[in-house]
Symmetry: C2
Subunit: 249 residues, 2 copies
DNA sequence: GCCGATTTGTCCGTATGTATC
DNA sequence: CGATACATACGGACAAATCGG
């Protein structure tokens, strides 16, 4: 599949914004102009722009135009955000990422696990603990629960590399969405051990739990990612939904 | 404006999902059926569904249908997410919210403030510190920087109630989007004082910084929200963007 | 494995409403 | 007021995936 037209336009505009072909705070060419440029319908242009809006790259104002509000990121710390694997983040940020599997077991969900993960009691699972390193520093401790039925052949070696690559490229599982919750929790002994933390320093971690679904609607993964706070950074762009709710904080 | 048709459909479907008119994991009526039900075009139905997808309520599968993957939230802790004011969150969660202004000053941005906030050096600003209470408990300490030029008449009383309500209802400023970054930071003395924290306990806070824009593309607010970790919870639904990036964590 | 019905995904063209200037 | 620009909505066409026979 040669990629959708709206996506090509989206990416093209995104690149132009990132390399500042459009100045900050100025208006992009109007939709009708873009229709000419890309030789497509207005709907297709609008769809591309909608993507930029949710990314926080532009804002649209009726009667005015589409304004570039993208500012290059400071890019100090390691950034998570959107949906991207640790491996891919590493590559994108030009760092050397590595994953160490510290626990690889199989188990059936008991009541407690079922309550925590959302899997039914009795479900056969892989339970892994993995540590992600960036430039040699331990940043993330992951507790992964995977549905065994969906990937019976999972091995330590695959887990060491990239489980998602295995799922997509080998098993042709399509990952669709991931419901995530971010909280802050106290450091545990296990965290301390694997993330080489100093308790005099931070005594908390950023914790991201996620329920991930494939295209059959099966929740095949529950993961708790425990991040070193000094390297955790989550970016987001919130767009106001007109009449529904006010906005403040 | 009587609200858009697609939005009415979106809200209707959302309600039906929430009160479990559609069973978890089952398919919603097909788009063509919904076209009949709502007496509208397929595009309009699709737009409503798209909203549910980004909310993580449903997933769509080509050739199959639209599957309900909504599960009622545990709803224990106070939830922030999307764009909603503290006041509105309080109301939605049926709690008693209150805001105390502990500092109300005006200043011009010096180099340091400019670097931190993104305002130009020399910009005239309001600088506020506000504490948000829920059921009598101090949960959030906010450092707000507001562009003075956009709301010259801001008072302590308004800040005590709701600045956003003032902006929208009185000044008719349209808030469009907010770029947010979440991190974890060490507790400071000011945090300790106003959030009544015990340093033996958590020594960190969840910190959300946000740059907020109006419909003129003006960044009129920079805010740093410092949350008690034990009451902080941020929800999110990440949707896989087909070909662009893999997904894992 | 193929075919056909169903369903979502992409794309187009057009018309009308509404906000900005 | 008119020109421009985005917002909403409709209708139609074809592609691609799923599923049952």
């Amino acid at each position: 599949m040669p990629a959708a037209k709206y996506d090509a336009i989206y990416r093209d505009l995104k690149n132009k914004i990132e390399d500042e072909s459009y100045e900050f705070q100025t208006l992009l060419p109007s939709e009708n102009q873009l229709v000419e440029v890309y030789g497509c319908s207005r709907n297709t242009v609008r769809r591309a722009i909608a993507g930029l809006v949710t990314d926080g790259y532009v804002q649209t104002v009726q009667g005015k135009g589409v304004r570039n509000i993208y500012r290059p990121v400071p890019q100090s710390s390691f950034t998570i955000g959107s949906i991207e694997s640790f491996r891919e983040s590493s590559i994108r940020n030009h760092r050397e990422g590595r994953t160490k599997v510290v626990l690889f077991t199989e188990l059936a969900a008991d009541r407690k696990i079922a309550r925590n993960t959302g899997f039914e009691p009795g479900t056969e699972l892989f339970y892994l603990q993995r540590v992600h390193f960036l430039n040699g520093k331990a940043l993330i401790l992951n507790h992964n629960y995977f549905l065994k039925s969906i990937m019976p052949g999972l091995t330590r070696e695959i887990a060491e590399r990239s489980i998602y690559e295995y799922l997509e490229k080998t098993l042709h599982v399509t990952i669709v969405n991931s419901q995530r919750v971010m909280t802050v929790e106290k450091v545990t002994e296990i965290d301390e051990k694997y993330l080489e933390l100093n308790l005099n320093d931070y005594n908390c971690l950023a914790v991201v739990t996620s329920h991930t679904f494939d295209s059959n609607g099966v929740m095949f993964e529950y993961t708790q990612s425990r991040h070193r706070p000094d390297y955790f950074r989550f970016q987001d762009n919130a767009v106001r939904r007109s009449s529904t709710g006010g906005m403040s904080v």
